[in-house]
Point group: C2
Chain length 206, copies 2
Amino acid sequence: MSEPELLPLLDSLPTERRDAARNRELLLDAAQGLVERHGPHSVTMDAVAAAAGVGKGTVFRRFESREGLMAAVLNHSETEWQAQVMSGAPPLGPGADPWDRLLAFGRSRLETTLLHAEMIREAGRAGMRSFAAYSFVAMHTRYLLAELGVTGDLPILATALLAPLEAPILDQQVTIEGFPLERVYAGWVDLARRIVGRDADPPESF
Amino acid sequence: MSEPELLPLLDSLPTERRDAARNRELLLDAAQGLVERHGPHSVTMDAVAAAAGVGKGTVFRRFESREGLMAAVLNHSETEWQAQVMSGAPPLGPGADPWDRLLAFGRSRLETTLLHAEMIREAGRAGMRSFAAYSFVAMHTRYLLAELGVTGDLPILATALLAPLEAPILDQQVTIEGFPLERVYAGWVDLARRIVGRDADPPESF
DNA sequence: AGCCTAAACGGACCGCGGTCCGTTTCGTAT
DNA sequence: ATACGAAACGGACCGCGGTCCGTTTAGGCT
């Protein structure tokens, strides 16, 4: 008999060999561990290979480059964060009204980005989060803007609203210019207000 | 006699030795030449040292790091651009009304950044232009916003307006997402409009 | 169980960024 | 002109990211 797949294609087709999958896990754990214990800059490819007990070549085959590895580690926390947005408690999650969700979203994004700033920077180009990750925040922002009745070129407008929350700009403001976090956030809220077109804070319903 | 300075402190005090100054010139020219002839990625520290006919150590003493060297090369064009803004022809230079100047400013910034995108990226952290360079655009933007009667936290607002024109964000939009340049620019104008508070295009005076 | 091939493995090897330190040069004071 | 200290020089050296290729292994087929 030749039934090549008993379970109807559940996993991605060019199925990953068992040892490969195992090593991917080992490497990711090793990398994460190094980050937590000694900071991102301590994550050298040799170190993570040694910590995982595999050869250096394997690290590169799995993750392309050091930046790729960093991005993969980031992806972990990013995924958890996405879950909070899509199905967590309001106001970040669904349920609150769009404006409150937008504010919570900005706040959370600000803090998360700052928290991972170092790793994002070390992930270099891929560190603006893998394209998929960026797509998610962009999409969610477009959705909230649409919900708030904003008209215009939403993809571009969403990018403009997100830009000040990206790591390099935040870095500039907080680390280099020394602006306090609350001021940066307040500024972002003001920006959102201007983009959405709310005139000052709403008088809180009735 | 001990008059240590005949000309009353004209130059920066810890005066640069003649050979040092000469080598700085040689190195900058060499680097610029390499960039023009073979692109930024061809600029290796050994190559630029060899091209300038000096030792590798000298390159590092003058420019700290590869990123520093890149930033120095960038600084050249940046300075010329600043001159255009401060004393060039309108609408970029002084003379036009603030709104037109702001539009010209954004347009010019967009094009310049895109032109040097590769080098900016390779200049890494220092590539958001040396702090001095960033200060200039930030200051000019604040000035124009103030001139346009915008109130609020101008430093933060200026950053927000400039952020979508920074290299990483532009890169994302143009190179990765493939948005045409004109669309990105139009989006930026719309952003400016919302921040400044103009309702649609002004009816062109009377 | 034994075979066979595609895939994964691992570590020697290379180039480049960055450091270090013994040597040379500049500029001044005599 | 000479001497001398500070500053600049240059290139050997090191660690790390990334590649290459000969060897090993997973896992389907008979």
